[in-house]
């Protein structure tokens, strides 16, 4: 009986599933809001698990803070706080001294996905799409039920404190509370606070790691950081007191535009002639180049851009690819700079040796980019030696203790690769990243590190790689790895080789010193016995013995050359 009933039921279900009319289907077809989409696909944005969600939330907020401060010409002071509310619930707050956000924009910026100033501009910045911080708010609201809270004050305006709820269907933030305060503890700045379901852990790819790496790549920022279990906030001091130059905004380069985008641009342009369109909308296109492109596309200079968008866009696209156009200008790039990389590494990573190299700007698919590399090598106080002016060799003293976690691994471990895109540390998907590929494809044996084929080199070293670009080619929206474009790989390898050569000559010198030190340890070991022998035979006093051993040691050490 039961079986028969079950089967009937099943058949009914199948029938219902299988046979739907177009009308029925239309009923369930409706627009999906961006917020809704990301609520269902949060892993795409880096909220795959509680641990990563905490990191992503902080990362997005800190990125925004740094961008906003630099844009306002302010030396960033950033406070990051993580407070544990329940076992799996945390309150995350990021506060900065940015110029503040005007009241009207606050709900948009923090509550609406894909809202921002950066997506449409061709300028180097940390954020790109304008989804990160709102996604964090969204995530908090979905997991804990509370929307984000924002405090913001501009230099002249009042401080506004908001609480909001996100409307998932309308991609909109509903302000639930709006208070105005006359004063705040900062003259200007913004504080973003959200409760989220998360988990806090230390170690690799943790929030701690992220903050530390951010401090390395941004030596001009002061970061205070307090995580659960810390009595006092950890302070990452500022090492350089100058805001990086604000990069210029550039128009797209013709080579970097895909067909779809070209069609969109043709449709939306204000130019009435094709020639004008090309010169107006792109960089590096003058009358001569425009003429060449148009000729190659077999179009007229006076053709209407919107007509072309419909019929001949593909010809135009091909013509662009086949015309020689000079590289885009590079004033849109703001590399960290050799000095700053060195300062950043020195400040957060006490090493025996630092090598830095910056490549000249280059271009991939019409996007200018620039690669920088920094290497920190050798743990002081472990087995590093130094030679004094008299030619004596001694174990190198540790310069200072850095109370934060040590970036340098042991000499028998693979090197650590710190990857940065526009000064933002990339913590995940190391193996799938073009930077890592460039490191493993570089022959480190030439530079004094051991390396198995196709693997990371072994050594107590940190390799920092930074790419500055108006458009960083991430492999996913979570911005975790760089796509291995051949142009980028080549530049990274060249930069690695340049810094590697410096490292190699240092290591070789160090090896010489080490073998000399080993030899000289024989002096330490056996010279006292020469003294004892002389004392026994000649019957000299203990003082005379010690004196003669000391004199001999000096003579022996200073007669040796390194």
């Amino acid at each position: 009986m039961a079986d028969i009933r079950k089967t009937a039921w099943r058949q009914a279900i199948v029938a219902k599933k299988a046979h739907r009319t177009a009308e029925q289907m239309a009923q369930s077809q409706r627009e999906i809001s961006v917020s809704e989409f990301f609520a269902k696909n949060r892993h795409l944005l880096g909220f795959d698990n509680p641990r990563k969600a905490l990191l992503t939330t902080i990362k997005e907020a800190v990125d925004n803070s740094l961008d906003a401060c630099e844009e306002g010409g302010i030396l960033p002071e950033i406070l990051v706080e993580i407070e544990q509310l329940e076992e799996d619930r945390f309150r995350v707050a990021i506060e900065d001294n940015d110029p503040g956000i005007v009241k009207a924009q606050i709900p948009n910026i923090f509550g609406k996905l894909l809202y921002g100033s950066k997506f449409h501009s061709r300028r180097q910045s940390r954020g790109q799409q304008g989804i990160g911080i709102s996604a964090a708010g969204l995530y908090g609201q979905m997991t804990v039920g509370k929307g984000p809270r924002i405090w913001s004050k501009t230099k002249r305006g009042k401080m506004h404190a908001f609480e909001m709820q996100m409307d998932l269907t309308k991609n909109k933030a509903l302000i639930t509370k709006d208070e105005e305060h006359a004063s705040w503890h900062r003259k200007h700045g913004t504080r973003f606070e959200i409760d989220i379901e998360a988990s806090y852990q230390r170690g690799l790819r943790s929030v701690d790691d992220y903050i530390k790496q951010t401090a390395v790549a941004n030596p001009h920022a002061e970061i205070r950081y307090r995580a659960p279990g810390m009595e006092e906030p950890r302070v990452y001091e500022r090492a350089i007191k100058a805001v990086p130059d604000l990069p210029d905004e550039i128009k797209p380069h013709p080579y970097g535009v895909e067909l779809g985008e070209l069609m969109k641009m043709l449709r939306n342009t204000n130019s009435r002639w094709l020639s004008g369109f090309l010169q107006e909308e792109f960089c590096r296109v003058g009358p001569k180049v425009a003429k060449e492109i148009i000729k190659a596309a077999k179009l007229g200079e006076r053709s209407y851009p919107s007509r072309i968008a419909r019929d001949e866009a593909n010809n135009l696209f091909r013509a662009i690819q086949n015309t020689k156009i000079s590289s885009p200008p590079t004033n849109c790039l703001s590399p960290i700079g050799e000095d700053r990389i060195r300062e950043g590494l020195m400040k957060e990573c006490d090493a025996d040796f630092y090598a830095v190299s910056t490549r000249p700007p280059s271009v991939y698919r019409g996007n200018p980019f620039q690669i920088e590399v920094g290497i920190a090598w050798g743990k002081p106080g472990v087995d590093q030696l130094e030679v004094d002016e008299k030619g004596r060799i001694a174990k190198k003293k540790k310069k200072r203790t850095i109370d934060t976690e040590d970036l340098l691994g042991n000499a028998d471990e693979p090197v650590r690769v710190l990857r940065f895109a526009n000064r933002v540390p990339l913590l995940f998907q190391q193996s799938g990243c073009g930077f890592t590929k460039a490191v493993t494809q570089t022959s480190w044996k030439n530079y004094g590190l051991s390396q198995s084929k196709g693997a990371l080199p072994i050594g107590s070293a940190v390799i920092l790689i930074h790419m500055a670009s108006v458009w960083v080619p991430f492999t996913s929206e979570a911005k975790e790895a760089i796509a291995p474009y051949p142009e980028i790989l080549k530049e990274v390898k060249l930069a690695l080789q340049e810094a590697g050569r410096k490292l190699g000559s240092h290591i070789r010198k160090g090896k010489k010193v080490a073998s000399e030190f080993q030899k000289r340890s024989y002096i330490e070991k056996y010279l006292p016995h020469v003294g004892i022998g002389l004392q026994e035979i000649l019957g000299i006093s203990n003082e005379e013995r010690e004196e003669i051993v000391e004199t001999l040691r000096d003579t022996m050490e200073t007669t040796r050359k390194i």
Binding site: Y526, V530, M556
Partner: protein, 400 residues
Amino acid sequence: MAAKKKVTKKKATVRKKKAQKRVVGPTEKKGKKNLKAVALSSIEEVAKDVYQDARKGRLPNMTMPQRNLANVTYDPKLGYFELKGNMKTRTLDVNSVKTFAQTLRLMSLAQDMVGDDDFATKREAYYVSKNWGEAKFNEQRESDTVLDDIEGMFSVKDITREILRFVPEEHGGSVVGALTVIDRDPETGEAIRSDCSAMGSGAYTIPSAVDHLGFETTAEFVLAIETGGMFQRLNHHRYWRTANCILIEMGGVPTRATRRFVRRLAEGLKLPVYAFVDCDPYGICNIYRTLKVGSGQAAHVNKTFCVPTAKYLGVTPQDILDFGLEDATHPLQPVDIKRAKDALKNDPFFQSYPKWKSALKQMLKMGVRAEQQAFAKWGLNFVIEEYLPAKLKQAKKFLP
């Protein structure tokens, strides 16, 4: 050559007088205090030089002769391998500092031992170093090398390892015959007389240091024998009594003590020394050559540790033919051939004597070797009854 004639003449007179008694006291006696003082002052001198150099901010060094066959010459008039004078200088640096320290510390040990009239075997010296912490020797080979270096350094002053009170582990060979050895009790200093003709079926054993010994003898010559087997046969049948001689068992290449012992019999008692060894390159080029002129390795001590007057009784390659031993031989092994060829090419001793050159060439040509005991082919005592008497009748024809 003059010495040789002299010996022969004297031997002739001895024969006439029959059983003339000869006596010699310890060589040490006359120079004992002297050598001890020289040893002590030499040690101090080396240390002082090191000390002074060090104080002046210079790297101290020690100089010693190179010890190898390339650094020796042979002058038949002198009778032994002599150093050419190639020196090696060991300067104190990181590579030599350990050896340098060990050299000084062993010299200090020698200083103590000479002062206290004690001694250390080479093995004991090695163990003494175990108390030196880092500077200890890891193997006896290392301490032996340093001892050889020290001896080389002092050889210019005729100071031997034995005078520095380092004695070898192995004792000397065995002795029987018409010889009385006068030793003394190390504790009481009382004289102890050992009559080597009253050893029954045993033998007197040569001690590791022999310079304090005195001798009395009525024998006419010394027969230095390679193998224990032949020595036993000759002793058993009291050959030393019939031939009125002293028998020495060398047991392969003679030790320093044995060489010194035979040297003292030859020099002090003016006795001729005849070597009786296997007819093969090892017997000739190693055993006999070392007995007579010393070795390249220990060239710095050859002066006192060899027997320049020794003569080669046999077995010679010609003996193989003369005594019908052709079918009691063994073919020369590659190592034998190499050794003989090396001797012809590099050894200054064999190069000095055409007779030896032709004897070695003859052996190489025959391609065979014969052992002492091969005479057993003609009867166990053929060697006593026929071979030795026949050879001794023509002592002038012995190979040099």
